[in-house]
């Protein structure tokens, strides 16, 4: 099996120090993406095993979390392709672009439910970008690599996604809607 060896410059201790501290955040991302605890646990486990085997390729001092997120996204993408015919997302950028000309102001008192409910209410590609940028603190370049999309698409989706998010927040403030937290049994993209 390719991977670490006792003579490799990488080591279990290095992996333990560099990669394992990101487990919590990696799981939160997986849980958000999959909306199912068992699927999220499987995804995180496969990601870390893959990372352990490839740890000699990780460059110390670079963003280990971004490296792990890239592995997670690639694994997830492969799984989805294998599990069912990949449904191409419609041209979500163009669709949303027409609907967010007006960007409402951000309310002062936003609860966690407001935030996550509104995020769940916008198209998935926008959710992904916003989470990787705002929650995972990844750079545009790192996001582009993780999602295998051009950096220009990252910037464009981020801009439009944030506008859509604000519109959704404003709409929810008007209706008092409160949902969107991950629920078991409804993985994204499979309903």
């Amino acid at each position: 099996m390719a991977g670490l060896s006792s003579s490799s410059p990488a080591s279990w201790e290095g992996f333990e120090t560099e990669a394992l501290p990101h487990l919590d955040r990696l799981f939160r991302l997986a849980m958000w993406l999959e909306r199912d605890r068992q699927t999220a646990e499987d995804l995180v486990q496969d990601t870390l095993i893959q990372a352990l085997k490839s740890f000699h390729r990780y460059t110390p001092g670079t963003n280990c979390r971004a490296w792990l997120v890239t592995i997670l996204q690639h694994l997830r993408s492969n799984r989805r392709r294998a599990a069912f015919r990949h449904r191409e997302v419609q041209d979500v950028d163009d669709t949303i672009a027409e609907t967010v000309a007006f960007v409402p102001a951000v309310a002062q008192d936003l609860t966690d439910e407001d935030m996550l409910g509104a995020l769940r209410g916008i198209p998935e590609p926008f959710q992904d970008i916003i989470i990787l940028c705002d929650v995972e603190d990844m750079t545009y370049k790192e996001i582009a690599e993780a999602l295998s999309i051009p950096i220009g698409t990252v910037m464009s989706r981020l801009h439009r996604g944030r506008a859509a998010l604000r519109k959704e927040l404003a709409a929810r403030a008007g209706t008092g809607a409160q949902d969107g937290l991950p629920a078991a049994g409804s993985p994204r993209g499979t309903s």
């Binding site: 201790e13 919590d24 352990l52 966690d112 996550l116 981020l158």
Partner: protein, 276 residues
């Protein structure tokens, strides 16, 4: 809204992500200083970002189970052993013990192994913080004041706001305290006193025992007197224990100089932590 406002707002996302050139960042700061409307707009966007991040960290539905963490760690250690990684025997024992506890249905909140290796792992993190905070700023999160950190994370950090060395007159010249703050490296929050001695930066890094409970870093709970640890790269490390905290003195100065700094910092830091 002026044309400049429109231009500035188009760059707002990149500005908040700190992904613009320094000159452009400065241009935007200058605009914000004089434009109330754009400042409110930027504040709103910032609030949205920080709120989103906080929501992710707080919502219980998104948090991993302790059982899953323990099982995964055992699996990874087995995987590492299978690929001939040299895992210390005590770690296999630790994984086995964790599994047995789980089977017994006791549940594990945090895995802790008592070992000198724990101290070494923590020392590497302290050196990472020294190098990526004090020497070259490459942290994912901006440092906050010790007061702010005390409010939210560790009340004992407040006691370090006024701590001073026993003497600032060391044989090699004056010892200065140039900064105090709290920063995060690899998910572990530290109190960080930045000192200068012989024109070289010396970090005093304080890690809370409680800070490890949210991370995977094995923790050293064995008390130890001030002692030199093996160098990490080019950095010399001296460590000592204070009340509920482990303290590291880190610098690229010769070992004798780092020990000299540690000697004048040990008692004041211990006293401060004990009184916190």
């Amino acid at each position: 809204m002026t044309a400049e406002c429109r231009e500035v707002r188009e760059l707002a996302d990149a500005y908040l992500s700190e992904q613009l050139l320094v000159e452009t960042m400065h241009d935007i700061v200058r605009h914000l200083e004089g434009c109330l409307a754009c400042r409110a707009e930027f504040d709103g966007r910032r609030r949205l970002r920080t709120g989103m991040k906080a929501a992710f960290e707080r919502v219980p539905e998104l948090q991993p189970r302790a059982e899953f963490q323990a099982r995964l760690r055992a699996r990874l250690e087995a995987e590492a052993a299978a690929t001939a990684v040299q895992v210390p025997p005590w770690r296999h024992w630790g994984a086995l013990a964790a599994s047995l506890l789980l089977v017994a249905g006791l549940g594990i909140g945090t895995l802790t192994w008592l070992s000198g290796s724990s101290l070494a792992a923590l020392a590497r993190l302290a050196v990472g913080d020294h190098e990526n905070c004090a020497l070259t700023f490459r942290l994912a999160q901006k440092p906050i004041s010790l007061e702010q950190a005390a409010e939210v994370y560790d009340a004992a950090f407040r006691s370090l706001q006024t701590v001073e060395p026993v003497t600032t007159a060391l044989p090699g010249g004056p010892l200065e305290v140039v900064d105090r703050h709290s920063c995060v490296w690899n998910e572990v929050r530290f109190a960080h006193l930045v000192l200068r001695y012989k024109a070289t930066i010396v970090s005093v890094i304080v890690a809370s025992d409680a800070g490890a409970t949210a991370s995977w870093i094995p923790w050293a709970r064995l008390d130890h007197e001030a002692s030199a640890l093996p160098a990490v790269g080019t950095e010399q490390v001296v460590s000592f224990r204070g009340a509920r905290h482990t303290v590291f003195v880190v610098s690229s100065l010769p070992a004798a100089d780092v020990q000299a700094v540690a000697r004048v910092m040990t008692e004041p830091v211990k006293r401060a932590l004990a009184g916190a």
